[in-house]
Symmetry: C2
């Protein structure tokens, strides 16, 4: 691969002049610029970002850690983040932690090692020490989707509490009284908030929460399937189920089918997060859709604003969720 010096020699200038042409810094005469650009084209010159980053400590790169790359919610967050970043001249390293604290740690090291200028993190664990490495390294970061207590960083969330209340309120309005909850990981703020919203909605309606109808697992398919199977042991059966996210809901559907139960005829089902493809397919679950694209884009905006002003106080942005009512409930 050609280097900046080879380009310079071909164009009959010094390397720094080529640098100035590429980066549009400083003055270069029109004629010189022409010659340099020709030389660049002829040699297929591609600047070496390693050398550039090493010298300038500006890598124009951000990191994004998501917890489940196969979930449409997260790929949409990623697209929102990427579009916002590219629009500002940054690229994004997309990393999938799979809800694993170990993978999260490895990727955070990798991001530090690549000298990204900032990171957007959906924390796999609520343990704030997991982010301590970033703080020690003074790497600016934004937390997305989940609160982590005691971490002093910008934060972008969907309104889990409000969304859960609305979903359960929707079921109540349809006449359901025996409503179960399939919850996510204990300690993950979205899961905790959604359970709280569920409880508050029931209590406000004068319904006592039946502890046997509240199950917590993790945000995985198997969990949804297993917890739903457990719920189906209850008697009487719940008439409706509120799943804490889309993956849990799909797992629950599998368990329901297994038992020959139809949605919504036999059991109503609602969940957090949209099912992009399935939304076009029966049974059309009612969902509380988070603005995933905006979550990603907002996180990048906050991060870039922090890079510009490292001393501004941390912000918390809570984006509203949208209730998409479909025929299932």
């Amino acid at each position: 691969m050609a280097t900046i010096r080879e380009v310079a020699r071909k164009a009959g200038v010094a390397a720094i002049t080529v640098s100035r042409v590429i980066n549009r810094t400083g003055y270069v005469s029109e004629e010189t610029r022409q010659r340099v650009e020709e030389a660049i084209a002829e040699l297929d010159y591609v600047p070496n970002v390693l050398a550039r980053g090493l010298r300038s400590s500006r890598t124009h790169t951000l990191g994004l850690l998501v917890t489940d790359i196969t979930n449409g919610f997260w790929t949409t967050v990623a697209r929102g983040a990427e579009d916002a970043a590219v629009g500002s001249g940054y690229s994004v390293f997309l990393c999938n932690t799979d809800e694993s604290a170990t993978k999260q740690e490895q990727y955070l090291r990798a991001l530090l090692s690549h000298r990204v200028e900032g990171a957007i993190i959906a924390p796999a664990s609520s343990d704030r020490t997991a982010l301590a490495a970033l703080e020690r390294a003074r790497l600016p970061f934004v937390i997305v989707d989940r609160r982590v207590p005691g971490v002093n960083a910008d934060l972008v969330l969907g309104d889990s509490l409000g969304g859960a209340r609305e979903l359960v309120g929707h079921l109540l309005a349809r006449g359901h009284r025996r409503i179960a909850h399939l919850g996510g990981p204990v300690g993950v703020s979205t899961a905790d908030d959604r359970e709280r919203g569920y409880r508050e909605a029931l209590t406000a309606a004068g319904i006592e929460v039946d502890p046997s109808l509240v199950r917590r697992g993790d945000y995985k398919l198997e969990s949804g399937c297993r917890l739903m199977r457990e719920l189906l042991q209850c008697s009487p059966l719940p008439t409706a189920v509120f799943a804490a996210n889309n993956v849990l809901a799909v797992g629950a559907l599998a368990a329901l089918r297994e038992r020959g139960l139809r949605v919504p005829e036999d059991v109503a089902l609602v969940c957090f997060d949209d099912l992009p493809q399935a939304s076009l397919i029966d049974p059309f679950l009612t969902v509380a859709a988070q603005p995933a694209y905006e979550l990603g884009a907002t996180a990048v905006r906050l991060l870039l604003s922090r890079l510009a002003d490292p001393h501004r106080p941390p912000e918390m942005v809570v984006l509203p969720v949208q209730l998409l009512i479909r025929r299932s409930s």
Copy 2:
């Protein structure tokens, strides 16, 4: 951030000794190693991959270009690739070209600029000049999912032709005679092969292909919707539809619903590529599932083997698809 020299000073050794400890190259006494590792831990030292890559031109990084990050097929390919890469000490830059030749070009430049050691590419266009930049830069690469005529590179494909024949064969066995085809982009090998398989299966069954039942678009939701609407103008209506991929199928479903038609009662629908979540939901499309994870993993294996032996002749690997028969057809 601490540098290797600071670690060296703290441990009372030369920088190169720290390097040897980190990279497990050369001999270091057990006692020295201990001291160095302590210093690394105390200083939170994270090696700078920019400097490392600059000096050694080994970045331990691969690039992966996919055409649609929101499609579960491609996220699964990415996971397969990533697992295989990480297992061999590589990390992967995941890039989403969105089927756009322009984005593909930008990302290829970015990969060259980051000095990745190799790339895995799902070509957004069948234009081989799009890959010329890689050949000029002598960057080893593997093509995945789609053939590009005239490119001399390793290739990993699913069996589009065979899978299409099987899917259409399945419909024929169910008694369908008027079968439509929703095809992908003209010139994209998967789309071309699938149309060919469709035609061959019909011809072999003694059925003449009705040109008005064959529509080609791109692999986007809108395309599936629009083409299906067009098909619904035909008279008599087709009794079955073969969509060239999962996204087209979902678009087709939307158009069918719009017209109040049920799947499979009114129109049978089959497609290429699985619908991971929707598979648990009605209407349970019969699909030809490609081994997406293995496609990704195989591509990485081929790429790494090429890095080890740049002169071995290119290989072509065709992985079989699996017919998942569900109740829709």
